[in-house]
């Protein structure tokens, strides 16, 4: 009830000598009827809004009237968006990052610091990139190619460099083992997948409408999809009993729930491979979801930013493949989000993309991408790298292998102390089950344990509740943003911790 906060402000303003008829309003008791002047410090610091209600006899009614009016006015007003909490950065997911920033682990300088396991960053294949760039200096920067620079620096067309869009499309095909085709004309570039998801939400839904998102989901969605768009997220509750898979019943239930609250559902947004589960979605499930959205006549956004991080190429099925097998029937409701941040480990480059099968979405997204363009220099640099098939094939293969090895390392390490994880096959994290060690099986118990792990064990992991998981005790643990040695240290800290909990 933010609208009640300014009462003190109101009184002060009235005290400053607004109109004579003015009545001020206290926090609890409301003034009697009569035409009243309520002031925000809006115009010339005095008069704000005038209530010209003349016939009110009841206190209750005047209360109603006051509540309906916006009075919050700090010295010079900001938007509701600016003062709202929808940015969601007070959740444990972000709080953990702060704790890490204050005391970051370092092998030699700060061996007792907090180890960052909340950041899904891929550092295991960075050497491959560096090697390539060193060997291909000429191609990736302007060096002697002066004419290249002239076009590049001035390039401000929101379509993006054609060479880069082609490279992007072919890289996306490569990641999917050539099982789906991508058309460079449908590739819309954005500064990262975050912007891509937000942009799609802007296009698909009006403020107040909802997207259905299966839980547990990436904590950042609460902000990325909701904050500036005014769109809501209605969770599709997935249960541990079937390994958090999305079922037709859960989809229907979420849809009906939204309808019962009179919310228009505009689409379903899934991450495949799932963040935070670290598992790919089976073809059958994708088919069911596609049937569901077709039946309801709504959109489907599939965020596939971890597609190149599936440990086995054949275990990942893109929605693009499903659409191809259906001969693109009903494809105009499908939109894919992709990025180079995870699969290539280049989040600093801010390269994301929307691939939509809907012409109008492509055109609109392209125009809207003016707000989130990628530097032409970066496009140029990546275009030549991504169109080198020899390199991309090799990179994707080795990257998958290394991630798998890391994953096995952490899973086996956890198993030694009896910790189970959901069976994963993709991504930069595992979904760890600590529910047997909770002091009480509630979200409170989970957050208590998370705090202990944060401050005493000194690991930053993300609690399931920040991902809206329906069951307490699950945690997302990232393993690809550190060296193997650091991972060993983290594992041994977990061992110690579990021992104390078992006693």
């Amino acid at each position: 009830m933010s609208m009640w906060r300014p009462c003190a402000e109101v009184e002060r303003c009235v005290g400053k000598g607004a109109a004579g008829e003015g009545r001020s309003c206290g926090e609890t008791s409301c003034s009697r009827a009569g035409s009243g002047v309520v002031c925000g410090r809006e115009e010339s610091g005095v008069v704000g809004l005038i209530l010209s209600i003349t016939q009110i006899k009841l206190d209750g009614l005047s209360l109603f009237v006051l509540m309906a009016i916006e009075i919050v006015q700090p010295s010079v007003g900001l938007s509701k968006m600016a003062v709202s909490e929808t940015h969601g950065e007070d959740s444990p997911y972000f709080a953990g990052w702060k704790a890490y920033d204050e005391n970051p682990y370092h092998e030699t300088c700060n061996p007792t610091g907090v180890i960052q396991m909340g950041l899904a960053e891929n550092q295991v294949s960075f050497d491959l990139l560096e090697e390539y760039l060193e060997a291909n200096l000429e191609a990736t920067n302007w060096g002697q190619k002066v004419s290249g620079f002239r076009e590049n620096a001035l390039f401000q067309d929101y379509h993006g460099l054609l060479s880069f869009r082609k490279a992007m499309a072919s890289f996306m095909e490569e990641v999917r083992g050539g099982k789906a085709k991508f058309d460079p004309e449908r590739v819309v570039l954005t500064a990262g997948a975050t912007a891509a998801n937000e942009l799609l939400t802007f296009i698909l839904a009006d403020p107040g409408d909802a997207l259905l998102v299966p839980t547990p989901y990436y904590p950042g969605f609460d902000r990325d999809l909701r904050w500036r768009t005014g769109v809501q997220i209605v969770p599709i509750h997935c249960e541990r009993s079937n390994n958090f898979q999305i079922t037709p019943e859960a989809l229907e239930a979420a849809y009906d729930h939204a309808r019962s609250m009179n919310i228009k559902v505009r689409g379903v947004l899934i991450t495949n491979p799932s963040n935070p589960l670290g598992a790919t979605i089976q073809r059958k499930v994708l088919e069911e979801i596609l049937d569901f959205v077709t039946r309801k006549n709504i959109h489907l956004v599939t965020d596939e930013i971890y597609s190149g991080s599936a440990f086995y190429a054949d275990e990942f099925v893109s929605i693009a493949e499903v659409l191809e097998s259906r001969n693109y029937k009903d494809s105009e409701r499908c939109h894919i989000v992709y990025s180079l941040s995870k699969d290539l480990g280049l989040p600093g480059f801010r390269v994301g993309t929307i691939y939509s099968y809907n012409d109008q979405v492509v055109t609109t997204a392209r125009r809207m991408s003016s707000f989130t363009l990628i530097s032409s220099q970066t496009q140029f640099l990546l275009a030549s790298m991504l169109s080198d098939k020899e390199f991309t094939q090799k990179y994707i293969k080795i990257n998958r292998e290394r991630l798998r090895k890391r994953y096995e390392m952490i899973i086996n390490g956890l198993k030694k102390v009896g910790i189970e994880c959901l069976k994963g096959n993709a991504g930069l994290f595992c979904w760890m089950n600590l529910s047997p060690y909770l002091k009480e099986p509630t979200i409170k118990g989970e957050l208590e344990m998370w705090k202990t792990i944060m401050h005493e064990v000194r690991l930053n992991i993300s609690p399931g509740s920040s991902c809206h998981c329906s069951e307490p005790g699950w945690f997302r643990v990232c393993f690809a943003n550190m060296s193997e040695e650091t991972l060993e240290v983290a594992l041994s800290r977990i061992h110690e911790f579990i021992k104390t909990r078992k006693q």
Partner: protein
Amino acid sequence: MSDSQHKQKTSLHSQATQALPDFHYHTAGKFPATQMTQTDPRRIQNSGLEDESRDQSQSSSTGMRLIVPLQGIVQGRGGLILGSVIPCAMYYILQFYLKRLRSPPNPPEQQTSNPSSPTPSSSNLAELSRSASRSNLLSRRPRLSSRVHSIAKSNDSPYYIGLDKASADPYDRFSNPNGVIQLGLAENRLTLDLIENWITNDSILGAGGGLSVNGIAAYQPFDGMPELKVAMASYMSQVVGRTVSFDPSQIVLTSGATPAIEILCFALADQGNAFLIPAPYYPGFDRDMKWRTGVELIPVHCRSSDNFTLSIPVLDQAYNQARKRGHKVRGILLSNPSNPVGNLMTREILFSLLDFAREKNIHIISDELFAASTFGDEEFVSMAEIIDSEETDKDRVHIVYGLSKDLSLPGFRVGVIYSYNESVLTVSRKMTRFSSVSAPTQRLVTSMLSDTTFIKNYTEKNRERLRCIYELFVEGLNELGIGCTKSSGGFYCWVDMSGLIRPYNEKGELDLWDKLLNVAKVNITPGSSCHCIEPGWFRCCFTTLDEKDIHVVIERIRLVVETCKSPS
């Protein structure tokens, strides 16, 4: 209410409100302010419906004539309820009526059974859908948001049509001498050689071999790397000159000035709130500030009799009118040096603007994209300098800057929000996750800005070359008997062709624009795209020209001018 009824009503509602802004644009001017004020009591009584009734108040005066007396009739017990319910009901009926009468059906979305490539350029969407929809009238398509429709419409403006046409068939002295000469796009080609030189000889790319991505591949702060902020602050001080200093901690970096302005709109205003903006203004603001934020822009019309400078009485009048129409004004957006006119704001007017903003308790966004591209005798005064001399009130001032114009690097997408308001900075930093600058570009730009000798040399030469080409261009126009306002900064001439248009209105202006584009093959921006209130003015960007091409442009314009002058 059954489900289907409900659906019908809500969809009707959103479509109608979506059609209204356009409608409002056409009618707003016709209603005298007094009539508008009549709606006030009703509007407040139905405060829940405030936005809707505001729209309505502009869309029809018939509604008001009915409703206002009604309130008199239903006074007494239960007056509040009846007074609310009846106008509500009438409002819905009216909307239904309006919708049937006025709003064209939304263009149905296109479906392709086997998706082909979408048209590569920004073609007209409405057209595209119409042709495709015939075959698929009955199939169901997922709805898009109502924003999409306004965005689909936006490229109909001559500004975008001209840009597209010029980029499809660009003039080149040797390879395409019959192409369209682009005087509509704000880019500076005069000093590219200087930057090229620097890149190849002095930069980390040229001298040191290659660009290392080591250390910058990982996540970087979304609001910019600290090194670049430091370099940017000192560059901005250098540009503004004198003793103004900029604090790196007040800088937020964005991927270009476009998102910088949008982020400020998101932070300062709610949907439906308004900004005052001196007109003529940059056509892109209609897109950048309104599309996704839902903010309204209210032009403050400056006239040729004042040399298109802003005066406080005019501003005050616009503010009061906006208030009367029920707009909540949240700020003023200035562009200084002005785009499109090219004039600078004096110290005096900046001080009075600050006083005005203080009196009304609103924000000031000062867009200073062309700060280093001044070439006249007048001095450029940044809002930062004004605010430096003030003790209080800093928190209402926000400056937008970028490297696209002053360093001629639009492709690099480097924009700046410089604010004195800690809350605005915090919110902006959070929003930069949607529009960060790519790390390799930040690294390159940092090294460029840190090379102060290069920057100093570049800025001086750039000013010289701007002045030189400006004078040549104006001279050429004068020979044709065409005058311009005096430009002191930026890339534009604000050209007066009002004597050449017939009839003397927007249609005449667009006819001339059309002739220039299609017959003379010169793309310039008509004043109406910039919301100029007087017809016959055009924005010509001269920085895309080579000295050798000036006579070609002038000759092409001469052809059209002569047909206009001849009595036929």
